[in-house]
């Protein structure tokens, strides 16, 4: 049971890294981006292709996945996303849906629809026991990396100038602009980093979550759950929501495999009905 908890935490941390970019984008630009999963997929495929076709070592592919996806994110933000910021949410939803459809079919066309297999380096394979808890080495690796990333995010937000600009822009973009903060730049950087993190998450998750062209659609709901339940005003909100989701999903699939994702969806509906602003958001937040 503790092993399950451990696995759930790993899954949750991974979901957090994948979804945090979406949460911040939502809170900052008030933009519902259903294509976020496509960035994660991109990062996963970068890792897979680099490893399988070019023989790049696993650890080296991770930063490359981040950078590549961040660049793609920055490019798309400047060209395609920016005109859509002031549009009604319906338009944004349809726009990002269009992007996802394109991404999914493009990957299918160029790379094929089969599941991508990667083999993690041997020092990350296997498991060991630590006081009745079965620790999978790879999952431990995920927890460590994601934990470090979370700390780094928290520090950037609270200690750096960019962080305070970001927080000001989330709070009130017009006032922030009036204060001389280049809101466009903040948006660009944030979107790029958020997408990069998603890509990194996709790379990390290729082994545990599987990777094929349907990845963005399969996991889109989970990302959105993290954001809507966790709220878009804090970092800890989505973190806790992601952990809860990860643990609930792992436990659910083990103890009640017949019910599957049913539990997760029902939980989400209940939570959002009782607290429409999310568990950790506050009223008036987007």
């Amino acid at each position: 049971m503790l092993t399950l908890l451990f696995d759930g935490i790993a899954y949750g941390m991974l979901l957090f890294v994948l979804a945090v970019g979406l949460a911040v984008t939502m809170g900052l630009m008030n933009f519902i981006n259903l294509a976020h999963g496509a960035f994660a997929m991109a990062g996963g495929y970068v890792t897979v292709l680099l490893m399988n076709r070019l023989g790049v070592p696993f650890l080296a592919t991770l930063p490359l996945a981040f950078v590549f996806t961040a660049l793609v994110g920055a490019l798309l933000e400047r060209t395609l996303y920016r005109p859509m910021y002031s549009r009604p949410h319906l338009d944004q939803v349809l726009f990002s849906l269009g992007l996802v459809f394109m991404a999914v079919t493009a990957v299918d066309y160029f790379i094929g629809s089969q599941q991508q297999m990667i083999s993690v380096p041997s020092y990350l394979q296997g498991r060991f026991d630590l006081a009745a808890v079965g620790i999978g080495k790879y999952r431990l690796f995920i927890i460590v990396i994601c934990g470090l990333l979370t700390l780094a995010l928290q520090m950037v937000l609270s200690r750096t100038r960019f962080g305070s600009r970001l927080r000001a822009a989330v709070d009130d973009p017009r006032v922030a602009q009036g204060l001389g903060i280049n809101v466009n730049q903040v948006f660009l950087m944030t979107f790029a980093v958020g997408s990069g993190l998603a890509g990194l998450g996709g790379a990390l998750g290729a082994e545990v979550l599987g990777l094929d062209p349907t990845f963005p659609l399969k996991f889109m709901v989970y990302f959105l759950i993290v954001v809507s339940v966790g709220g878009t005003t804090t970092i800890t909100g989505p973190l806790l929501a992601a952990l809860m989701l990860g643990i609930a999903d792992v436990m659910g699939k083990y103890y009640a495999p017949k019910l599957g994702a049913f539990i997760v969806y029902t939980l989400m509906i209940v939570i959002l009905t009782l607290r429409p602003q999310g568990l950790f958001g506050h009223k008036g937040a987007k």
Binding site: D91, S228, K258
Partner: protein
């Protein structure tokens, strides 16, 4: 009659193109020929899109899970025909009532929260239903779907033929009825109060209107119509499956409505025709990757702006 009265009457009067549309529909019955099956699909899709227009275009509720009611209606109709009675009209009414109930129950969930919350909740409801249908395979046939639904003759006389002529006539009549009912609702004080809610909720409450009851009512109506559309599909194809509850269906119907235009009631019909034609043309050319072109179309459509699509001279102008 005073100017005011004339104007109010004119609001609800039948426009010439509505009547023209009706004539075209009537004629299509006779000239359907080998296209009856396709026309049947279009009619069903149009009804489904019309039901979404009621909540999206008129009440402003963004739902990504409207297929929940469509698929539910399909299953109810199929199960009813299989286990209770093969009469199509009775089955249709049963499916409608069942979907309305489901709509009323789930309307509670969409009343509060932001657009994102509502999006998630509607997605969630559809996903839950999908999982339920998947797991309850002894009832629904699971991933294989509910097969071998044999329908009795319509009105006791018209057998469902292989060419789909009866099916199309059936669906068309139901569609016309649906349009008629929706039309009356939309032109009524209730209909205007929905538009008011959509335009300015604060103002709407300030003239004494209650929000929740109205939203719940229109959601229930939309669910009933969507369920009817689903039932039509099950009855005319003899088959109900998980596909009716799938996310793709919710996304497709939203696209249909967006192509045709929201908020004026006939967007669903025009959109369904355009969508099916688009689908057939593109699928013939690239069967596997139709989704790609669909995505591209969506992208361009959204960038250009929904309302400007039909006015090409505005494309290059800045917003």
């Amino acid at each position: 009659m005073s100017a005011v009265q004339t104007s109010l009457r004119a609001n609800a009067a039948w426009r010439w193109w509505e009547l023209a549309l009706g004539v075209v529909a009537l004629l299509s019955l006779f000239f359907a020929g080998s296209h009856a099956l396709l026309l049947n699909e279009i009619a069903i899709l149009a009804l489904f899109a019309l039901s979404l227009d009621l909540i999206l275009g008129f009440a402003g509720i963004v739902s990504l899970g409207h297929a929940a009611f469509f698929g539910f209606g399909a299953y109810v109709a199929a199960l009813f025909a299989k286990h209770v009675m093969p009469d199509p009209l009775v089955g249709l009414v049963v499916a409608m009532v069942a979907s309305a109930l489901l709509g009323a129950l789930s309307s509670v969930l969409v009343l509060r929260g932001s657009d994102l919350t509502r999006l998630m909740v509607t997605l969630g409801v559809a996903a839950v239903l999908y999982e339920l249908a998947n797991k309850l395979d002894w009832l629904t046939g699971g991933a294989d779907g509910l097969q071998g639904v044999a329908m009795g003759p319509l009105l006791g006389r018209f057998e469902f033929d292989l060419y789909g002529r009866t099916a199309y006539a059936y669906s068309l009549v139901v569609l016309v009825l649906g349009v008629f009912i929706a039309r009356r609702v939309v032109h009524s004080p209730f209909g205007y109060s929905l538009k008011a809610l959509r335009d300015n909720r604060l103002r709407a409450t300030s003239i004494g209107m209650s929000v929740n009851a109205r939203l719940a009512a229109v959601y229930t109506l939309a669910a009933a119509l969507a369920g009817v559309a689903g039932a039509l599909l099950a009855q005319t194809s003899g088959f109900a499956s998980l596909d009716g509850l799938d996310f793709h269906r919710s996304a497709d119907v939203m696209l249909v409505l967006v192509i045709g235009g929201t908020g004026y009631l006939y967007g669903g019909i025009f959109g369904a025709i355009a969508f099916k034609l688009l689908h057939d043309v593109i699928s013939a050319w690239t069967p596997q990757y139709w989704t790609f072109w669909l995505g591209l179309f969506l992208l361009v459509l959204m960038l250009v702006g929904r309302d400007r699509l039909i006015r090409p001279w505005t494309w290059m102008k800045k917003r």
